[in-house]
């Protein structure tokens, strides 16, 4: 009989346990699900990189700067990229480097960032800017003598002769945006800007003279190949050329109306990028090709930088243009696949 009671008690206990368990599950268990957290990628689909710099000629170290204060860096020629924290959310328009450790970036709202440790940390520099648009920095440049230059709105030209420690205005205030700055082999400083304006300073920015321009279209970039030869590019397919150290500039007629935003000299050819994926290349002797950064690529690119092996371009993403063709850098695999189809 005892045994019966024990088993009966056991049974009741078990019933209550299971019932309780079911009730508990039914009314109190709130299932949860593991959702992978979203990692910020170095190169995101929505990123715009307006500037790219590659100190030295090897192309191993690459910096790119762009929207929302984003700076990324690669030390293996673009295979992997790391985000570098910056103290700003303003868009960065350009980046330039003295070497793999020292670089500066310039952007909207008078932002000038400086690093001396390869970008592990970026400091915001205090600079005086012209009112009413002078805080709109557009280009950053380091010349052969190691001077740092910034071009921007309201006639802004900033100069640093101490590797970025101090900066001063090197151009009077003027209601024109300087879209690019370059230094030729003779040491003269050149700026180009809105309405086709060109100015030259023979003395490192102390004095400036206007140079007659063959175009009224805004000029976006200027570069020199040496031996007094150089070109400037601009909106609506504008290309102008000089062969006499800039005394005279002549228009080059190209069969494109695409905006050209930047041009670079590789030592053998000029390469210019712009909108609609356009890639214009040419030589001082006047042979020009109009192509595309990649078949089926219609993106815009605002910056092109030459290295030994080819060019880095930045804009709607970052790409490398080499002798074997062109490829995009991305952190997203599916985007890479789409791009692959584009180039097929």
């Amino acid at each position: 009989m005892n045994k019966n009671y024990v088993s009966y008690a056991l049974e009741v206990a078990l019933s209550l346990l299971i019932l309780g368990g079911l009730f508990w599950v039914a009314f109190f268990v709130k299932p949860s699900v593991d959702v992978p957290s979203v990692e910020a990628q170095a190169i995101e689909p929505r990123d715009n990189f307006f500037g790219v710099a590659s100190p030295g000629d090897s192309g191993r170290v690459v910096w790119a700067a762009g929207s929302f204060g984003k700076i990324v860096r690669s030390e293996d020629g673009g295979k992997t990229w790391q985000i570098q924290p910056t103290p700003v959310k303003s868009h960065l328009q350009d980046i330039a480097a003295w070497d793999a450790e020292t670089a500066f970036a310039a952007g909207d709202k008078g932002v000038l960032l400086m690093t001396r440790n390869g970008g592990d940390s970026w400091q915001l520099l205090e600079v005086d800017t012209f009112p009413m648009g002078g805080g709109q920095f557009l280009r950053a440049h380091v010349d052969a003598e190691g001077r740092g230059w910034v071009a921007g709105g309201m006639g802004t030209v900033l100069l640093s002769e101490d590797r970025g420690a101090t900066w001063q205005q090197a151009h009077p205030r003027k209601d024109v945006s300087w879209n690019d700055i370059a230094v030729d082999s003779s040491g003269a400083v050149w700026v180009v800007g809105e309405f086709g304006e060109i100015q030259r300073s023979p003395d490192g920015g102390d004095t400036w003279e206007s140079i007659p321009s063959p175009t009224a279209s805004s000029l976006m970039a200027i570069t020199f190949s040496g031996r007094g030869k150089g070109i400037a590019v601009g909106l609506s397919g504008t290309v102008i050329q000089t062969v006499d150290s800039g005394k005279h500039w002549t228009a080059v007629e190209l069969d494109t109306s695409a905006h050209l935003f930047d041009v670079s000299w590789s030592g053998a050819r000029y390469q210019a990028v712009g909108n609609g994926g356009v890639l214009v290349s040419g030589t001082d002797s006047g042979q020009w090709d109009i192509g595309s950064v990649a078949d089926g690529n219609y993106g815009w690119y605002t910056n092109i930088t030459a290295t030994d092996g080819g060019f880095y371009i930045a804009g709607r993403g970052i790409r490398f243009l080499g002798p074997q063709g062109s490829h995009a850098f991305t952190s997203r695999t599916d985007v890479a696949q789409v791009d692959k189809r584009e180039s097929e």
Binding site: P31, N48, F68, L138, S218, L235, Y298, R341
Partner: protein, 797 residues
Amino acid sequence: MIKRLSGFLIQWRVAVVALLAVVTVVLGYFALGLEVKTTFSDLQPANHPYVQINEKYKTTFGGANVVTLMVQVDKGDIFRRDILEIVQRITKDLQYIDAVNQFQITSLASKKIKNVQASTEGIESLPLMWPDLPSSDQEIEVLREAAISNPMVYGQYVSKDLSAALITVDFIDRLIDYDKVYPQIQEIINEVEVDGVEVKVVGQPILAGLIINYLPETLKIVGMIIGVIALLLLVTEGTLRGMLLPLLSGGVTGVWVMGVITLMGINLDPLAIVITFLIAARAVSHTIQLNSAFDDERRSGGLNSRDAARLALRKLFRPGLLGLATDAGAMLVVALTPIPLLQKASLIGAMWVGAMVIGTLVMVPVALSWVRADSEHRLVDLRVNTAVSAFLRLCTRLTTNRASASAVLIVAVVLLAVSGFFAKDITVGDANPGSPILWPDSEYNRSDASINSRFPGSDRMFVVIEGEEPDALKRPEVLDNIMQYQQYMENLEGVGGTQSLVDVIRPVNMVLHEGNPRFFKTGDNALVNGEFLFFALAGSDPGDIARFSDIKYQNGAVQLSFRDHQGDTIRTAIQASKDFAAANPVDGVEYRLAGGLIGVLAAANEVIFSGQIQSIALALLVLFFFCALAYRSSQAGLFFLPLVVLSNTVTFSFMSWQGISLNVNTLPVAALGIGLGVDYAFYITDRIRESFHKDGDVREAIAFALSTAGRAVIVTAATMIASVVLWYFFSSLRFQAEMGLLIALWMSVSAISALVVIPSMVYLLRPRFIFGAVRKGEDYSADSAGTGAAYAVQGRA
């Protein structure tokens, strides 16, 4: 009570049958008006916050019923006059489709798609290709350039390789009739398609229309399956009544339920047709039990048909009722999941099973009482019976031996553990890209993949940004926050792209700066952004910006395009949105999730996810209570639980193995199957109990139960399994094929556990509710002793 009732029913059998016939005719008449259609609102858990946001904003920010068409060329690009003409023609023709939201037809050829241009006269905002097509090669070239330089077009409405153009069209949820939309769109496509040009189309309305399109095929399969069931029943049962009664019972109860739901204004979802077999199988099962009990009584007691029918009714009424009540209870629990589709399925299931109390437990014995048993002879005899008997003897030997019965239980426990382990891997929401209702290589899913590889994605979600005051959306910090949200979301694998007010403003700023992309950004203050918006919208209809903002710029939306609607994709996107909003708060605005198809699916998935475990637990509680009550023993409640759990875990692990996920469509199968096969177990234990109280021998009792109720279990299971798998072989819809397999598996597990596991448990555990003393009200002594006259007297008394 049952004794009296059974006597009474058989006594007045003509009246009973006449009454049922009248009811069937009347409800059958109503059932003719049954609507077989998909209603989108059926998928939506109405009280879920996402659904409420969708309801609140769907007329402006775009609802869940979106159709996406892609015009694609084999060679070259779409910037050819004939191709542009096709795009324009489709865009125009779509306006005349029923229930279309005419303000939400977007393509290269619609008025909404504009280019902001700087010209000598100032800033202009002109439609890209409206009202007229470009007439010369030069104009086409201009259009191409404009399309490429416009981020709202390039990659969005023209593919990045320029080989395809997209047309999207919204439908008004409450007006949409999937039956009409699908053929109408198909007609538009047929009219424009020429060599070298393909038009592909996807979207919720197309999917629903396709399913309706397959309805004739579905009905053909239904007819075929009923034919096969009839044939199998004829082979196994051998007699005309053995064939007809199960079908009649399932059919008549079905007619009643269809009649009643039509009167209640409930429609039948086309995808639910396969599920009706899951329910009707119960009628077949109970009928075969009754039929076989009738034969047993007649043979063993030498009774006439009326007495045998009365005894069958009397003896089987209790286990039958218990089985039906448990089933119905478990189904009703599903109604707690607040998704109308599930609630309807639950209601239909419960009502149908409830109707079987009359339509099967009563009607079948009454019908059997007319059998002229003496002159009846077997129509077919393929010696199936011999094989069945041999199998049942094997089951008996297996379960009435201590060692082998223990082995059976150990196997069952291991199976329970293993399948339970894998069952938890089941996914909620869709498990694969494309629609799980169709095969991956179906035209629809191939179109889906094709469109999603060229464009940001055809499935949409909108996230609302609610501002506290007008013009909140013009504030730079708000726009920056929105932009960063978009950037964050675009990191997700499943998100193909996003659009917002930011994408309207940025190009204007760029155009104002001579097309310089360095100014592809929003303005520095609210005033400037207001000006940009003014330029962007100059000369346009007020509705043109409606996808992104209301006219007061107080509440806006981020539109996200998804490459697929897999459960994981949706959950990740929702979580990421919540994370971002929590980590990046902005004063004066708040993020609200989430509208569009993805928003609604997210809500449904969340409800299913949290409701599924609850439903199963509640169904098990229902089972426990009914069993405990019926046998007046908590032991009985415990006894049957593991069986139900076993068939559930096996089925769920099969689903996770096959990649069949739990969603609004598959859940009814899982839910209506939960009590499936419980009746097998009840019949078997009842027979064991009956025999034991007569003879006092456990082994004998199990042998008896298996040879009577067990035989019916085998016939039922074999018949239903062999017929439902036909879905797998003949249905063009993957959903039906998979559900056919699933139902077959479910029935197999239930049958095997009833035939092997239950007897083993009984043999080893000797539960008191089976072997205990006979209580008052139970009367096993009257088995075959009574005469017709005696019962007739009792019945009248």
